[in-house]
């Protein structure tokens, strides 16, 4: 894992003291709310529906056991005993007091954490594949580049006041687990025909009220030019992005209105000016960061797979959990475990302080002291020897963390919605809970197979509904909650935006509508087809008919 150097440490500590002073000045009246708001947002502190909300950065979703324990401690001491893991692989606390936030930030700084780049119109926390470094077909660990981008972008003076927030994701395998095409910039690590490693650069994707799938503007960017090319893109955006209209300020609107070809030309021209200059990745610095992400010293795993297979024959619950939550690791005898934060009836992405401590302990003992957060709001133990998996599962079972539903219908991305969010029009969490309860039967979930439902409580699309296989968008119709359903979206390598199926459903109707859609799929599907495959083959027709009749 990356460790802070003296510059990182000094920067974070300075930030804490600055913010302590800013809070004091706000309370004494030296700062007006308008002035203070801009400052608190630079430190991840929002004022939400019920209270302040603090979003803490987890760079590329990787953290140590010590850091996880600190997150648990903060939940326990300063909040209501839980935290909420987000789609940017961060964590947010829903109930901190303003007067406590400087102390919270000071506690975070003790373990090299902070809330920088979790809010505001800057380059946000860079996300990466949560199986980084352990996926079998990976070209290179995307976190190395996410870290390089973090170092370049943190408090970058030129890009601290962008027209709007800016999100970058990096992925290193053929399977896209980082939702690249719905990012402002998506970087897919590729190897070219000469065997050189670089990036396919996608720009201008995004969700919100005007969703776009990002087009590729460069098929192959040699990796040493990463930062100069990013700087060129950001410069074009910083100059031409629409600062006059909040709804048109994201880079996706600029790319769409300029046209991909013209936009690419502008970037390439800008790049020609700075290419090969001081932003070229220095070989020794690249190697230094690479070393931080080098694989851990794996212990001997002789006989581990045999033990694992035996455990599976002993215990059917364990075996079923393995089917969804355990995947193969690049090293024989090891596996990657995904811990579901979607137990039936809970708020998706929430973990209690005690659960965080349990996971920290398991990571320490069984997974080389490392935990990952997924953009799908689950957690990952990435280096578990197969002979230990049963013991890990038992511990997870005791902590109500062994839900066997990864990738299934009850594993939903869900935004906080009207239960917590100031911007929301409708609730999301109870909709997810009702759907999960309806499909509680695991045999049924397994029979339905891979199905990604994603729920947003407003058009800002924090719940990624546009790219849900089934997307649910909460809207307000004359003071009542209604839900618009889209079908056929995907945030993966086959990225697509969902199609609206028809008129919206009321709060009490939406679970039934989802069941109708699922039943229609089960009737229509051919051998082995996932929901998405069936939808792509048959289109909206059968679903519309089942939901609304033929009239």
């Amino acid at each position: 894992m990356y460790r802070y150097d003296e510059f990182d440490r000094a920067l974070v500590l300075e930030r804490v003291e600055q913010f302590r002073g800013q809070v004091a000045r706000r309370l004494s009246g030296e700062l007006e709310e308008e002035e203070f708001k801009a400052l608190r947002l630079r430190n991840g502190l929002y004022l939400q529906l019920h209270a302040y909300m603090l979003r803490v950065a987890i760079p590329y979703g990787t953290l140590s056991s010590q850091q996880m324990r600190k997150l648990a401690h903060i939940a326990r001491v300063y909040d209501r005993d839980y935290g909420h893991f987000t789609t940017r692989q961060n964590i947010q606390y829903n109930w901190p007091k303003l007067v406590d936030v400087p102390d919270i930030l000071a506690e975070l700084a003790e373990v090299e954490m902070h809330a920088i780049q979790t809010s505001g119109n800057c380059i946000r926390n860079v996300t990466a594949d949560h199986f980084a470094g352990v996926a079998a077909d990976e070209i290179e660990d995307p976190r190395v580049y996410a870290e390089i981008v973090r170092q370049w972008s943190t408090l970058h003076p030129e890009f601290s006041f962008l027209p709007r927030k800016f999100k970058i994701a990096v992925n290193g395998t053929a399977q896209d687990r980082a939702a690249l095409r719905v990012h402002d910039i998506g970087l897919q690590i590729r190897r070219n025909s000469a065997g050189k490693i670089g990036f396919e650069v996608m720009v201008g994707g995004g969700q919100g009220r005007t969703p776009y799938i990002a087009p590729t503007i460069r098929e192959f960017l040699p990796k040493q030019h990463l930062l100069s090319y990013l700087e060129a893109i950001l410069r074009v955006y910083n100059q031409l992005g629409r600062r006059d209209n909040l709804y048109k300020a994201r880079i996706k609107i600029l790319v769409a209105s300029t046209g991909v070809e013209n936009f690419t030309k502008l970037v390439e021209e800008e790049w020609a000016e700075i290419k090969g200059g001081e932003l070229t990745l220095p070989e020794d610095e690249h190697r230094r960061i690479l070393d931080y992400f080098s694989p851990p010293q794996y212990q001997d795993s002789n006989g581990a797979s045999k033990t694992f297979e035996t455990h599976k024959t002993w215990n059917l619950d364990f075996s079923r959990w393995c089917k969804t939550n355990v995947v193969s690791h690049k090293r024989p005898g090891f596996s990657i475990i995904t811990i579901s934060l979607k137990p039936i009836g809970s708020a998706p992405g929430d973990a209690s302080a005690d659960q965080m401590d349990v996971i920290a302990g398991l990571a320490e003992k069984f997974s080389h002291d490392e935990i990952r957060v997924t953009h799908e709001q689950n957690l990952v133990l990435a280096h578990v020897c197969q002979s230990d998996i049963y013991e890990v599962w038992e511990a997870l079972e005791n902590a109500a963390l062994s839900t066997p539903n990864i990738g299934l219908i009850s594993d939903m991305i869900t935004c906080p919605g009207l239960d917590y969010c100031n911007l929301a029009n409708a609730r999301s969490i109870p909709v997810a809970q009702n759907i999960a309860k309806k499909f509680e039967d695991l045999d049924r979930q397994h029979d339905i197979g891979e199905l990604k439902i994603k729920i947003s409580g407003c058009i800002n699309a924090c719940g990624h509904h546009h790219v849900g296989h089934i997307g649910i968008l909460g809207v307000d119709k004359r003071g009542e909650e209604f839900y618009q359903i889209t079908l056929g979206g995907s945030g993966a390598e086959d990225a697509a935006l969902g199609d609206i199926v028809g008129r919206a459903f009321g709060y009490d109707e939406v679970t039934g509508a989802i069941e109708t859609i699922v039943d229609t799929y089960v009737t229509e599907r051919r051998n082995g087809e996932r929901f998405l495959d069936t939808y792509r083959r048959v289109g909206l027709g059968p679903f519309k008919e089942a939901l609304y009749g033929t009239a």
């Binding site: 706000r26 309370l27 009246g29 709310e33 004022l47 529906l49 019920h50 209270a51 302040y52 109930w95 901190p96 007091k97 303003l98 007067v99 708020a347 009207l418 239960d419 917590y420 929301a424 409708a426 609730r427 969490i429 109870p430 809970q433 307000d476 003071g479 009542e480 909650e481």
Partner: protein, 86 residues
């Protein structure tokens, strides 16, 4: 009967509060000062409390008074008054 009450968050803590007739801020909607008709006095009191830094983000909401109980008209404000539904 429908009218308006003033709501805000306590600046130091962030808790949701409602302005009472006595000029205090209460966490309970039922303590709120209900104004029917001209709400200018309510607005003035709320913004004064903001200037005094007792509260932040003050605004007026519509409420209904049924059997002496105040109930916010919008779903958003009902959830704000009662806490998350989950």
């Amino acid at each position: 009967m429908t009218g308006k009450v003033a709501t805000a968050n306590r600046l130091r803590e962030g808790d949701i509060v409602y302005l009472t007739k006595e000029g205090e801020w209460s966490p309970n909607l039922q303590d709120a000062w209900l104004v029917v008709g001209d709400d200018s006095e309510l607005t003035t009191s709320a913004s004064k409390a903001e200037q005094m830094r007792d509260v932040v983000a003050a605004y007026l909401i519509e409420v209904e008074c049924i059997d002496d109980k105040l109930c916010a008209l919008s779903q958003r404000e009902r959830i704000r008054a009662a806490g998350p539904t989950v």
